[in-house]
Amino acid sequence: MKWRITISFVVLIAMFIAGGEACRKKDVVAKPTPMEFKVPDGFPQPENIFSSNPLTKEGFELGRKLFYDGRLSKDGNFPCASCHQQFAAFATFDHDLSHGFNNQFTTRNSPGLFNLAWHKELHWDGGINHIEVQPLAPITAPNEMAETVDNVINKLKADEQYQKMFKAAFGDADISSQRMLKAIAQFVGFITSAGSKYDKVKKGTAAFTTAEQSGYSIFKANCASCHAEPLFTDLTYRNTGLPLRTSLNDIGRMRITNKPEDSLKFKVPSLRNVDLTYPYTHDGRFYSLSTVIDHYRTGVVNGPTTDPLVKNKIPLSDLDKSDLIAFLRTLTDNSLLNDKRFSQPQ
C-alpha cells in the first residue's frame, strides 16, 4: 500500500514539473466571471447579441462605468447617461429633443434603453444594425458627444482604473474601440424591463383595478397590433400620421432605405415605462399621454405612407382614454428604476 502511494506521488510530481515547464505563461490572468442573461417569462427569444460577446460580470461592470463616464464626450459633460437617465427608464426626462455638446439640440427624442436585446435594429430610423456599434453614433455626432473614437480610446488608455478593468474583462490590458463597444453592449444589452404591475398581473401576483382592466381591453383592441405584447412594440417602422415638422424635415426610415414608401416612418416605440418617457414621438412633440391619444382620436394626417391601422383615426371616448392611460401606467417598472446594478458606479 505504502509502495503504491509513493508511486502515485512520484508520478504526480513528475507531471506537475513537466506541465509547468511546458506552458508557463508570463502572467496568468483570472478569467472573467460569466453572467447569465435571463429571458423573462413569456418573452420571445432575444437576438443573439452575446454570442460573439460573452456576457461577464467584469465586462458588464466596465460597460457600466463607460456608460456613466463623461470622458466619452468632447468636453466631459455628456456621458451616455446624460440623455439616458435611469429614473426615466433610460430616456431623457422632460426633454423633447436631446441636448448635446455646445448647447446644441439633436433632431430626435432620446428613447428609453431597456429590452434592447430583442431589437435587431436601433434608432428611430433603424439605421444601426448591431447593438455594439450604436455608441459610435452619439459619440461622434457633433451635436451630441462630439468626440472622436481615437480621443476616447486615448483618454481611457491614460486611466489606470480602465487599464485594470479592461484586463479583468478581456484578459489583457489592450484598450481598443472594439472592446469598449463590446463592454457597453454588455451593460446596455443586459438591461431588461419585465417587472411592472402588468407583468405581475400576468403572473397572477397582482390584480388590475377596474379602470386598468378596462384600459387593457381597449389597448388590446386598438393599440396592440403595433405595440405588441410582451415587448409592447412589434419593432416595425410606421407612419402614424404625424405631420412633417418642417424645421427638422425628418423623413425617418427613408433616410436609411432610400425608399419613398418608407418616408415619415419611425420605429414603433415600446410602451413599457411610457409614463416616464415623455415627451413622446420621435421628436418629442407631445408632452402627455393624453395628447398622444388625442392625436390618434382626431389628429392623424393622411399621406401616401400613413399606416392603414391609424388612417381612419381611432375612435375612443373620454372614459376610454382615461382607462387606457390607467392601463399604460401599469407598465411602469419600478424595479428597473431602482436596480442598483444599473446605477452610476460609486
Binding site: 508511486i7 507531471m15 513537466a18 511546458a22 460573439s52 444594425n129 463597444l181 432610400n258
Partner: protein
C-alpha cells in the same frame, strides 16, 4: 527503485504530450506574398495636394484617398489559397498601408483576386478591430456600414463650398452593394511561383484617373459630393473596380 525511475520518465513524457498542446493551425500557410499597391494619377505616382486632370478635362487636387481591399485569394485552376482575416485599408497618405504580406497555403498561381470594399458579413457583425476599427474613419455611424472608398480634394470645377469635392462611397445591402470583385492575371500572363522562406512582391497599380471615368463619366462639376449608400455610389463603385492592374512581380 528502477521501476520508480521508469515511471517518472514515462509520466514526464506523457504529460508533456497532453498538458499544454499548442493551438495548431490545420492549414499550412508557409508561403508569403508581398502585395504592394502603387497609386497613380495621370500616369505618375500620386502626390497629395498636386494638380492633376481627369479624362473629362477637370483639374483636381487630392487631400485624401483611402480604400478597403479584402478577401485576397490566389488561384490556379480549381486550387485556391485564401488569406485569413483578410482586410487591408490602403491609404494614399501612409505608405506603410500600401504594402502588406499575405500568407498562403499553396505556391503556384495564375491569378489573384480580392474585393474592393468590405464584405456584407462584416458590415452587420458589430464592433470590429484592426483595419476595420471604426476609428479609421471609414465607418458610417448613423447608417451602419463601411465606407469602401473615400476620395476628398478640391477642383475649380466643384460647385461646393471652397471648391471641395468629397466622395464617401459605401453601401452593402441588396441593390446598394459597392463591394467590387477584382480578378487580375499576372504580368505577361505568367504563373506566379512562391518558395518557402522567400518573399516575392506583386505590384498592383491603382489608377485614380478611373475614379471619374472608368465606366461611367462622373464629372466633378455635376456632382462634387456623394456621401450616402445607393444612387451614384454604385457608379463610383463601377468606376473604382476598373482601377487595378498587376504590373510587376519582384524577387526580394
Amino acid at each position: 527503485m528502477k521501476t520508480l525511475a521508469r515511471l517518472f520518465i514515462i509520466a514526464v513524457l506523457l504529460s508533456s504530450l497532453f498538458s499544454c498542446r499548442k493551438e495548431s493551425s490545420n492549414e499550412d500557410v508557409s508561403y508569403s506574398l508581398k502585395v504592394s499597391f502603387k497609386i497613380k494619377a495621370n500616369g505618375e505616382p500620386l502626390s497629395l495636394n498636386k494638380k492633376y486632370f481627369n479624362a473629362l478635362g477637370e483639374d483636381f487636387n487630392v487631400n485624401q484617398f483611402k480604400f478597403y481591399t479584402s478577401n485576397f485569394s490566389l488561384q490556379k485552376g480549381t486550387s485556391v489559397a485564401k488569406e485569413k482575416e483578410s482586410y487591408h485599408l490602403v491609404d494614399a497618405s501612409n505608405t506603410a498601408t500600401q504594402s502588406f504580406i499575405i500568407k498562403l497555403a499553396n505556391n503556384k498561381f495564375s491569378s489573384i483576386s480580392f474585393w474592393v470594399g468590405v464584405d456584407s458579413a462584416r458590415n452587420v457583425s458589430g464592433a470590429q478591430a484592426g483595419d476595420l476599427d471604426p476609428a479609421k474613419g471609414m465607418f458610417w455611424t448613423w447608417n451602419t456600414g463601411y465606407i469602401m472608398a473615400k476620395l476628398e480634394g478640391t477642383s475649380s470645377f466643384s460647385t461646393a463650398t471652397d471648391n471641395f469635392f468629397e466622395y464617401h462611397i459605401g453601401g452593402f445591402k441588396a441593390n446598394e452593394k459597392t463591394q467590387r470583385f477584382i480578378n487580375l492575371s499576372f504580368p505577361g500572363g505568367k504563373e506566379l511561383a512562391l518558395e518557402k522562406n522567400k518573399v516575392k512582391e506583386l505590384v498592383i497599380e491603382a489608377d485614380l484617373d478611373k475614379w471619374f471615368s472608368g465606366v461611367h463619366q462622373l464629372p466633378i462639376s455635376a456632382q462634387a459630393t456623394w456621401m450616402t449608400p445607393g444612387g451614384l455610389a454604385l457608379k463610383y463603385a463601377d468606376n473604382y473596380a476598373t482601377m487595378f492592374t498587376a504590373t510587376a512581380i519582384i524577387e526580394q
